[in-house]
């Protein structure tokens, strides 16, 4: 069997998802042995411009050049997998989308509005077709490994479409929300084994939302009844999924 040709690319983000792949210390050598890695800028200076069976793409798109490059990758790849919250939802850098314009941000940080032509941080799917999304900030390495084996086997991996609460209960955690902290677990897709609540920390929603399923309005109502300030709720919802239409609309 021919090894699948794989490219791993990064756009605007923290490189954390590529790093998570490198963090598969025990499996890395087997994994790269099973794949024909054609491009992995973070780890290798060998860049083969090629066709890819699978392209894993990290980061959000913020410049015209990135958009162009993403389109090139798309054209050369059979499957395009978005890895990480930036690629899936736009990342933390999108948290003020629709509130503070890019040029204002530019002025605030660089003191001038036209330093660069820049887009509002958007997920990859705003520009190209995305075949599969591995969410998370950063991705879960086990989930990546499982997705990679599925792809190797020829299947599209199975996406997680249930909330963090499920994993919390499977791990027998108490409910952080009921204990008085604003936890986004009920609207955030699981897959992280409820990392934060398991440590007693509220979920900040680093895996985005469950598209078409997360009950944003109900959650806002529940948070309000629990006594959280409106502005606080809004800021929290916007942290990782500001581009989700229902959250973008929250006043």
């Amino acid at each position: 069997m021919k090894k699948p040709r794989v490219g791993i690319f990064g756009f605007t983000g923290c490189a954390g998802d590529q790093l998570m792949i490198l963090n598969l210390e025990d499996e890395l050598l087997d994994l790269v042995g099973a794949l024909d890695i054609k491009s992995f800028t973070m780890a290798s200076s060998l860049v083969e411009d090629d066709e890819y069976d699978v392209a894993f793409v990290e980061g959000s798109i913020t410049t015209p050049k990135q958009k162009e490059k993403l389109e090139q990758i798309r054209n050369k790849s059979k499957l395009l997998v978005a890895i990480g919250d930036c690629a899936a939802w736009g990342g933390v850098q999108a948290s003020c989308n629709g509130i503070v314009s890019v040029s204002k941000k530019m002025v605030e940080v660089y003191g001038s509005r036209n330093v660069w032509e820049i887009y509002e941080s958007k997920p990859l799917s705003a520009y190209v077709k995305v075949d599969f999304v591995l969410p998370g900030c950063p991705i879960e390495k086990e989930e990546f490994l499982r997705a990679a084996t599925s792809l190797l086997h020829g299947d599209i991996p199975e996406a997680v479409d249930y909330p963090v609460c499920v994993e919390c209960k499977l791990r027998e955690n108490g409910c952080v929300l009921l204990e008085g902290r604003l936890c986004l677990g009920p609207i955030t897709p699981g897959g992280c084994k409820a990392r934060c609540p398991s440590l007693g920390v509220d979920c900040i929603g680093c895996r985005g939302v469950i598209d078409g399923e997360s009950r944003i309005k109900s959650a806002i109502e529940v948070f309000k009844e629990a006594g959280f300030e409106k502005d606080y709720v809004k800021k929290r919802l916007r942290m990782f999924a500001a581009n989700y239409p229902e959250i973008l609309e929250v006043k």
């Binding site: 490994l145 990679a148 086997h153 249930y162 499977l170 027998e172 108490g174 009844e225």
Partner: protein, 322 residues
């Protein structure tokens, strides 16, 4: 049996196998393996997840495959499940109806066989309504049951296996006054359970409840599934295969599932028979109290619902129709 002799009983039980008992972890009580009686929370209201987890694991491997054949994975082991309340024992009896029905679920059946159950009287709170579901008392489904009557326990024996443990000298024969004390303690417990819900014919009322009321009842529901995952009688499980890097071998895993989740009634092509929380809640309630009563009144789904949706309140509103 005198309360002071409980450590003795605990030690003899421990000879049967590892003891799993309620333990306090932060604000919650969970069933964990313990090595001494000191770790055990003897007086508790309800555990976070029900003790059914010993028989139907939250997440368990059921088989392995290697590209050629499928092999069962089953860890054989005896254990003692200590300190189970009547509601949860009744919950297990409800699960028995499903999982021991032919063809029986081998994993469940064998564990049910292997695990000895020691019941214990409970400390009800205002969310318990087991008297309405007929599950405040366990008529069977355990080996031993310890009823707290003050300074002593009345021990009910239900199996020969349980009987073996009551042969030691510190077990006394029941006398008339013990029967009276036992009866009084049970009456007191029943009286202390204030919460009541009328379930007669509720299934048909669920059936005719208009969508508008469902929408109101479920407005805050987050579709998070917690209510199902803490329920002692929820039986649903999901299955997934995990493949190794050699893309030949791997294992099949099943884990608790919830009918409040999107995928529960989703079929190929994206069709969903229960697309919103309305249909899902109607299904959940039907399943619990629609036909035969499968709710044991433990109150968990209410206590652990992040949206504080109250099952009993819902049922009451369904009864009055508004």
């Amino acid at each position: 049996m005198a309360k002071a002799d409980l450590p003795k009983l605990f030690r003899t039980l421990a000879k049967y196998g590892p003891v799993v008992a309620p333990v306090r972890v932060g604000e919650n009580v969970v069933f964990r393996e313990v090595t001494s009686l000191e770790e055990v929370e003897l007086e508790y209201t309800r555990s976070l997840t029900p003790p059914k987890k010993l028989f139907l694991g939250p997440q368990e491997e059921i088989l392995k495959f290697d590209g050629e054949k499928y092999e069962e994975v089953f860890e054989d082991g005896k254990a003692v499940l200590f300190g189970v309340h009547a509601c949860d024992i009744n919950g297990l009896l409800k699960l028995d109806e499903i999982y021991l029905d032919s063809p029986q679920d081998e994993y469940y059946a064998r564990r049910r066989e292997n695990v000895m159950i020691v019941g214990m009287s409970c400390v009800p709170d205002e969310r318990c309504f087991c008297t309405s579901t007929g599950s405040s008392y366990a008529y069977g489904g355990f080996d031993l049951f310890l009823h707290d009557i003050g300074r002593e326990y009345v021990v009910r024996v239900r199996t020969e296996r349980g009987y073996e443990f009551t042969k030691d000298g510190y077990f006394k024969r029941m006398e008339e006054k013990d029967f009276l004390a036992f009866k009084k303690a049970e009456e007191k417990k029943v009286r202390s359970i204030k919460r009541k819900v009328d379930l007669a014919g509720i299934g048909d009322l669920i059936d005719v409840t208009p969508k508008s009321l469902w929408e109101e009842l479920t407005a805050k529901c987050l579709a998070c599934g917690s209510c199902n995952l803490v329920c002692p009688t929820c039986q649903c499980y999901d299955v997934l295969d995990v493949l190794e890097l050699d893309i030949r071998s791997g294992s099949r895993i099943r884990r608790w599932d919830s009918c409040m989740l999107k995928r529960h009634a989703l079929v190929a092509g994206g069709g969903n028979f229960r697309p919103t929380v309305v249909e899902r809640t109607a299904n959940r309630l039907s399943c619990k109290v629609g036909g035969e009563i499968r709710c044991v009144g433990c109150g968990r789904c209410t206590v652990y619902c992040p949206a504080k949706i109250d099952l009993v309140e819902m049922l009451e509103r369904i009864r009055v129709g508004a």
